[in-house]
Assembly symmetry: C2
Homo-oligomer: 237 residues x 2
DNA sequence: CGACGGCGCATTGTATGCAATTCGCGCCAG
DNA sequence: CTGGCGCGAATTGCATACAATGCGCCGTCG
């Protein structure tokens, strides 16, 4: 298979000086590829099980196989991709049991963060959390699922940060990312938006009270409800 | 710097046919390197902060830079190594705050595993756990720190497995590995061995009773005591 | 005497060619 | 007709050459 269209190396007096826009990627090609591929996986442009041919990807992005390989290896290490020696890489497709385990882990990790946040959040952080929560309340009325989803992520991220434990926050975020391809778009209907907000409310109230156990419990229940939604989805595949 | 001593590629009628012993590594070179480097880091042959020069490592292991780079990237993804673009890689040297966070996370993750194990372990798994526990009891009397350390790892691994949640088990194990370079050899004195066994005993009793909260609590306390030992060590650096 | 800028060196990032392994496919034997 | 075996094509793994970036050193200027 031909490797590329424009020979970019020597000469190359094309309109494309060397890199299309030097400002686009301020890091290495491998890093850009990693982000791009991760993004496509999370947006389900690359569904679970899709094969990731090194040469094909290299051609598609107009780079050599080397940075593609690095990107794939890093994605494999982060769990979004599964790779077996000499047999190529595919978008990760965990078994049902493992996916269930990941949701359970997410529930526990988020509960852990919420519990720590209840004890450790600064007054400023608490105000910020309440602000995000209020924003979600309004969005749940307006019924803008797209924006709700974004602000919902900010809500959970604020709680991760409030745990004042970056390592646990990293674990929680990584787990959230890994299950992302398997969560269906949940915020289609206003009902789910309102329900989600009500669940959040219990979490926020507990955090504001400094009630560690209550915050953890409320968050665990919230995530477990999310998981239930997922199971319906999984069955309907 | 010269890349290698024997040009291995063409000709190479040396005593070393191609790979020293084909049976040694049944996987790729990058994977072998990853294991070898991880092992050296965990055994503190490569202490935190040590720089990992690609060319130097390639020369040392008599391979090209390509698999070295892959190994380093994977180690970076697993957290044992920190790497910045164009600036090389070093053995990870987390800040004191982050290390504290990692210990806290380990306590919570192990407690989580112990709690699930109390509810989910099969009768066979329980018997195996008790057997390991008994082995540790004898070793704590004999006072063989080396073997005690190995069996201690088997003890904790048995509890990870007993959680019946591979994902959480992976997180717990990964965290344990990442703090490994910062734990001092704790089992020098018999006192610590006996204390550790006593703490384990509470965990085992709770698990046998199916007491989830009790098992989690006992394990959390056990790990926190380990952490205290660490803090003394950290200060004494 | 100190600070700033340019230049050379060392090191990492990328491209490309070759080697090795895997898997499909056809062929032959039972 | 079926099952096993060997061969070839395709794909990944590794080596090497080249490019680009960051860093330190030195000289010059304020």
């Amino acid at each position: 298979m031909k490797r590329r269209i424009t020979p970019r190396r020597s000469g190359s007096v094309t309109a494309e000086p060397r890199r299309p826009a030097a400002a686009i990627g301020k890091t290495t090609r491998a890093e850009q590829l990693r982000r791009q591929l991760a993004d496509e996986i999370l947006r389900r442009g690359l569904p679970p099980g899709a094969s990731l041919d090194e040469t094909e990807i290299a051609t598609r992005f107009n780079v050599s196989r080397t940075p593609v390989r690095e990107a794939l290896r890093q994605l494999a290490a982060s769990g979004l991709v599964e790779s077996r020696p000499h047999r190529g890489a595919v978008v990760a497709q965990p078994s049902f049991e493992r996916l269930t385990g990941m949701f359970e882990a997410m529930a526990e990790l988020e509960a852990m963060c919420a519990g720590f946040a209840a004890e450790r959040m600064s007054p400023l952080e608490r105000r910020d959390l309440e602000a995000i929560h209020e924003e979600l309340r309004m969005l749940s009325h307006d019924g803008n699922p797209e924006r709700f989803h974004d602000v919902n992520e900010r809500f959970h991220n604020a709680i991760y940060a409030g745990s004042h434990n970056d390592y646990i926050a990293d674990l929680a975020l990584a787990t959230r990312v890994r299950v992302q391809p398997f969560r269906r778009a949940q915020f289609r209907n206003l009902g789910r938006l309102a329900t989600s907000h009500a669940e959040h409310d219990r979490v926020v109230v507990a955090i504001m009270r400094g009630d560690r156990a209550g915050a953890a419990l409320a968050m665990r229940r919230h995530i477990e409800l999310v998981r239930n939604e997922y199971e319906i989805y999984a069955v309907s595949i």
